[in-house]
Symmetry: C2
Subunit: 360 residues, 2 copies
């Protein structure tokens, strides 16, 4: 993408007779240049993209760099609270944020299905641009491929992110200590249920909005307040259950969670009950788990709630309920127990099969 000079002209009907993606748009020829100039470069429009090369020369970083990548194959492309474009930017931004890194640069790899309406592509690219601007990451280079009808599902997007490390202390599973408080930044399970609703046409009394949102600003708010974050992880595929199990195994400690403290929206809870799905297995795209020393848990929670009360989640959502959901205790490595609302204890396991395919 970065090799093509920008046309500089806004063209209201850039494709003339074509309003769908053709195989020839992936050919390296004239139509491909038109797609790049008139749609992709026009929408993204970052000076680093206009260097007339296949690679983008980045501005010199001031900090150590983090690299992360994700492909997005969500079905359907649009859902309440976002679309594949919002997801593709925020998902990668959040992987950087969880390392304590400010999102700096992003590449975008598009795989388009022949026949995709160009209007859909434009809508998704505009979502990407808006999400990128919202969090300050720059889309600097890209690539577009087209495959035949039936060899994709509308479009798949890969984004790779480069971030600059701002956390002074190391943030990783290895830093999790006995006595750490386990905090969740907001209610869980909305993204997975929003995508399921859009896909299956479920209707609930109140539509479930995805929680898809960027996390860097709230992380930065905690770092600036000198909260000693030992570890963070965004809650995505496999839900909260997968995240805590993976981290408990990685730090070789036991976690104890309290079910009544885990925030779940009532509509999400009802939907999960109807579908027979455990909300702990449902993905979010704008929530994270963090581990902090027990004695700073209260401060961290009140900072998070203050941040979200003042800023929303930058995607227009202002309902948040950050809270302590458990602690790190002596016990067996990799075990996570849940004290249930009815007073029992159960072991938490990640989902073993695929309950919600293609939610990100």
């Amino acid at each position: 993408m970065s090799r093509v000079e920008k046309s500089g002209l806004y063209c209201p009907n850039p494709f003339g007779e074509f309003d769908q993606i053709l195989l020839a748009h992936g050919s390296g020829g004239r139509l491909m240049l038109q797609l790049l100039d008139n749609v992709i470069m026009r929408i993204f429009d970052d000076s680093l993209m206009h260097q007339g090369h296949d690679g983008s020369l980045l501005e010199p970083p001031h900090s150590r760099l983090i690299m992360t990548t994700d492909s997005y194959v969500v079905r359907p492309l649009f859902f309440a609270g976002g679309d594949i474009g919002t997801l593709a930017v925020n998902g990668t931004v959040n992987d950087l944020a969880m390392c304590g890194a400010r999102p700096l640069y992003m590449s975008v790899g598009l795989i388009l299905e022949e026949g995709l309406p160009v209007s859909i592509l434009e809508q998704v690219l505009l979502s990407m641009k808006s999400a990128a601007q919202c969090t300050g990451i720059r889309i600097v280079t890209g690539d577009t491929k087209v495959v035949e009808r039936g060899r994709c599902d509308g479009m798949y997007i890969n984004t790779t992110g480069i971030g600059g490390l701002e956390a002074e202390n190391q943030i990783s599973a290895a830093q999790i200590c006995l006595g750490d408080a386990i905090i969740v930044s907001g209610d869980i399970g909305r993204h997975g249920m929003a995508v399921m609703s859009a896909r299956e046409g479920f209707s609930f009394s109140r539509p479930i909005q995805s929680d898809c949102a960027p996390l860097w600003e709230s992380v930065k708010f905690l770092l600036d307040a000198n909260i000693d974050i030992h570890c963070m992880r965004d809650i995505t595929r496999g839900g909260l259950a997968s995240v805590v199990k993976e981290l408990a195994a990685a730090c070789k400690l036991q976690f104890s969670l309290i079910e009544k403290n885990i925030p779940v929206d009532s509509e999400v809870r009802s939907a999960c009950e109807v579908l027979g799905i455990d909300p702990l297995h449902v993905a979010c795209e704008g929530r994270y788990v963090l581990f902090v020393p027990g004695n700073s848990a209260e401060t961290a929670v009140s900072l998070l709630n203050r941040y979200y009360c003042e800023n929303g989640d930058r995607m227009g959502n202002s309902q948040f309920q950050a809270g302590v959901i458990g602690e790190v205790i002596p016990g067996k490595s990799g075990i996570v127990t849940l004290r249930t609302t009815i007073g029992g204890n159960r072991l938490i396991e990640p989902p073993s099969g695929e309950i919600l395919p293609r939610i990100c």
Copy 2:
């Protein structure tokens, strides 16, 4: 990918009863961890990948950075001279090399089709690892998604590369000058024809091998010899014709090429004649065009031929015929003329439709 600790054990039959990719391998649950541990992390096995995080902390760079991305959707996955894995590494390495940058770090985003044999996945990952080692780039982070049967074509791969700029002078279309010699690093059109042969089952008297190969070492050889490279571009989708047209437009100068100087393997030429395709429109994956001052053209060509004579192309191929194929002349911006072997002159145009879909 980088979030999962490596099992440390070689497991000869890592999947037990599963020898195919299941949707559950993309779930974030137990099967996904098995796929990561027993196949992907075991094969790639880079210490930067084992940081237990979704992002990978890179070692501090000594130079300015270049970022590039490409998705690979080649059909079929295997062809004479390479496979989608070789291509996915070399293609991205070459985009960095063309900027004058040493390939440093790479991310890998896999989109797998349900039902893909795990043995095929392993074979492709081994090709990636081998191609990465060959050129010194480190695969540091990754992501794996699984889509339903019929929503992909075996597998698609995105690679995003980070390179460290080593060229001292700027290398870009804007540096191309009147009087520059236009050099091609080897014979053109083999990759496209190798893929077409594999796809359509054509058989020729001698099989056409793809030219897929990494270009950085040969670029470095020229830079070390103080060749003042004004611009380089690898010849991929759209072939030599697309590359020269795009560069002539970007530098606003006219190019004059001489057909008899453009090296085309006799088997490739015959295949193109049978299929009615202009070899100038056929992709390579290990050839580049470079622009140098006219008075250093001879030195650059002899260095290139010496390099390839001594080193092959690092993919076992030693037949190369670098040569001057034309020059930059006064004239009309964006025009490229070809003096044909029968003495006429014709204008070069990029392909306007799609003649060879999905060759990379």
